[in-house]
């Protein structure tokens, strides 16, 4: 019973990290840059979902579509104003700019949405069902499925479609890609939009289990980046598998050793894993052509 409940908890949590980490993966894959405001993007999805669905009373499907669309717009803005001006000059300024962008967003939301956490109701998180004798909300079982489907879709898109191959070409040979008629700017901007939409999906999925507040994304963003590195940030499957593993390690450590040890064990394992597998679980070393 202890192990079953820990596995359900861990997979749900892990898939969350995985979804956020996929966002890190996709922008890295096409532009070698990442959006460090992923945690805030996740919060944005949850806050907008709450605002449209609960405060304004829109039908939930419409609220979700609207929230995710705005998350996408946020991603485009991040790329245009916080990444491109720096990346174009070969500067790493985007690192700090995206962190700062996330902090600004958190505080804007704190100002407008309010200081109190809220609860986003969901029919999938109201009545517990029994899974192998352990109580769980249906939503907890849906999250890992969404995570795996998203990884499969991204992996397929990038490897098996001409658009996806075009995206990968952008990072390998930007000039050649341009000559081949690929609009590199559009591809990179699109990748950022997809990354923030994925974060928005994670936010909307987690909100009914957690609560909605301006600072909800911070810790998730940090852990998701850790899992992105652990999985090998260049591999979609790698980051999702790492997310699931990390979630499982957290939940199992808590269940068997006690919560005082959770952070110590889980982060120590990340350091150890990276010592032995510097490119991450499923990542590969970047090939430098001289």
């Amino acid at each position: 019973m202890l192990i079953t409940s820990a596995i359900i908890t861990g997979l749900g949590l892990g898939a969350m990290y995985g979804l956020l980490a996929l966002g890190f993966h996709i922008t890295y894959a096409v532009s070698n840059t990442v959006n460090f405001s992923q945690g805030s993007s996740m919060m944005l999805g949850a806050v907008l979902g709450y605002t449209f669905g609960v405060t304004l009373g829109w039908p939930m499907p419409l609220a979700i579509v609207a929230a995710l669309s705005l998350c996408g717009v946020f991603g485009l803005a991040v790329e245009r104003f916080l990444v491109r001006p720096f990346a174009d000059r070969g500067s790493n300024g985007w690192l700090m700019a995206t962190v700062a962008g996330g902090i600004v967003l958190d505080n804007v939301v704190l100002f407008t949405f309010g200081k109190e956490p809220r609860s986003l109701p969901s029919p999938w998180a109201s009545d517990a069902i029994s899974v192998f004798g352990v109580g769980a909300y249906p939503l907890q079982l849906v999250i890992p499925v969404v995570g795996i489907v998203a990884a499969a879709a991204l992996s397929f898109l990038l490897r098996n479609t001409s658009y996806g191959k075009g995206m990968l070409a952008v990072v390998q040979q930007p000039e050649a890609a341009k000559l081949m008629g690929i609009d590199t700017r559009m591809v990179i901007a699109g990748a950022f939009a997809v990354s923030t939409i994925l974060a928005g999906v994670a936010g909307l999925l987690i909100a009914p289990l957690f609560n909605v507040s301006a600072n909800m994304g911070l810790v998730f963003g940090i852990k998701a980046f850790a899992t992105a590195i652990l999985g090998g940030i260049g591999s979609a499957w790698g980051v999702v598998v790492a997310g699931l593993l990390y979630g499982l390690v957290e939940a199992l450590t808590t269940a068997f050793l006690g919560s005082s040890y959770t952070q110590i064990i889980s982060f120590s394992l990340i350091i150890l894993a990276l010592l032995f597998m510097p490119n991450g679980l499923l990542g590969s070393a970047a090939i430098k052509k001289v």
Partner: protein
């Protein structure tokens, strides 16, 4: 690199120059034209605990309005200066320095967060300005070991709350082996010690101590450990968010265990966040408006509604402890300054000891402070409450 070094040099120089200049300027200033008596407040005015700062501000405002309408203290009007600690002990300490050294506040009030108050305590004891705690319950805030203790409190005290929690678990729920689910911060630690001591005093075993983080989505693993260790009651010490996660996880597990709680959930929208089990939490308070028949409580509610139009009902003044504690603490501080006949810290401290009686909102205080007792409230003033439809009501 050299550019960086130059920049650093300039910054250091500039800093040094600015520091010296302000030091000289401060020294050259004539003694502050003190036409008002200033009261400082350092509390969470933004972030997830902002409601607590708002409650303390409301209690202080009503008390100060009354004092000023009565002619002020020592013939001077009272003025409130508030600073946001942003839940950050470092920022709280910086604000304390500013309010005491620059603004010359006569009494400094603290907020909800024990870690912030603990950061301020050594400073006020050293600079000899009274620090009044209207909320943070950490035991070492008032029991700080200073030879001359300048810290007073009108609020619950963790070690006494812990005794009351154990008492309730045993007397109401017949608990023989309680478990603990505590927030992973100094407040949780303070209560872990207190609960362990209270259980030891009763010769009772415990089913274990589990920690929760503010970001924990799922507390099932921790709770399952306590359940398997045979916990028959849970002691909960955490703020609104994590407490809500505990109740949601209990609901999911289908574990119907009594939850006896410190007052953490008493803020924000616990009824909404904690799901159907939120109402089952038995939570300690020092004051509620609901079910309170005293004339003072009714008058206070009317004054609050008149002064703050956004307050429409008792549900809008949740939690009431911050308001009531701050209100009584402000009136007690005014009495202390009156007794001192001055705003000098050491004299005001003696003034607190000289308070004979005060008929307050929470109770009638008799000799509330002595050299050995810096907490005006004790276990006899605590009451157990539950959340019903967003209101905190005493358990019948």
């Amino acid at each position: 690199m050299s550019v960086f070094k130059t920049a650093l040099k300039i910054t250091r120089r500039t800093l040094l120059a600015t520091g010296t200049a302000s030091f000289i300027a401060l020294g050259a200033l004539p003694a502050q034209a003190a036409d008002t008596i200033k009261i400082g407040l350092i509390a969470s005015l933004s972030g997830p605990s902002a409601k607590s700062g708002e409650a303390i501000t409301r209690g202080l405002t009503i008390a100060i309005d009354e004092i000023n309408a009565d002619g002020g203290i020592l013939g001077k009007q009272v003025e409130l200066l508030s600073r946001d600690d942003e839940n950050n002990p470092g920022k709280g300490l910086v604000a304390a320095r500013e309010l005491i050294q620059r603004e010359k506040v006569a009494v400094l009030f603290g907020g909800l967060q024990t870690p912030v108050s603990l950061a301020i305590v050594p400073f006020v004891n050293q600079i000899e300005v009274p620090f009044m705690g209207p909320w943070a319950a950490g035991t070492p805030i008032t029991k700080n070991g200073a030879e001359k203790n300048y810290v007073f409190r009108v609020s619950a005290v963790d070690e006494l709350v812990d005794i009351a929690l154990v008492e309730r678990a045993v007397s109401v729920h017949g608990s023989k082996k309680p478990g603990m689910i505590l927030i992973n911060n100094p407040w949780g630690e303070s209560n872990e010690k207190g609960l362990m001591a209270a259980l030891k005093a009763k010769g009772m075993p415990n089913a274990g101590v589990e920690k929760i983080e503010g970001s924990d989505i799922d507390v099932v693993p921790q709770l399952t450990r306590l359940q398997q260790a045979g916990a028959d009651t849970l002691f909960m010490v955490a703020n609104v968010g994590p407490s809500a996660q505990v109740m949601k996880s209990l609901e999911r597990m289908g574990w119907d265990v009594p939850v006896v709680s410190h007052w953490g959930p008493a803020g924000g929208r616990f009824s909404e966040l904690g799901g159907p089990r939120a109402k089952d939490v038995e939570m300690i308070q020092t004051f509620t408006f609901s079910g309170n028949e005293s004339a003072k409580a009714k008058t206070m509610m009317e004054k609050l509604m008149a002064r703050f139009p956004e307050i429409k009902s008792e549900a809008d003044v949740t939690p009431a402890v911050g308001i009531a504690n701050a209100y009584d603490a402000m009136h007690l501080s005014a009495l202390a300054i009156k007794n001192a006949g001055s705003t000098e810290g050491p004299k005001v401290r003696e003034g607190f000891y000289a308070i004979d009686s005060y008929d307050g909102l929470i109770k009638s205080y008799k000799m509330p402070f002595t050299a050995d007792k810096h907490d005006a409230l004790g276990p006899e003033d605590y009451l157990f409450t539950q959340f019903i439809d967003g209101k905190i009501v005493p358990i019948q």
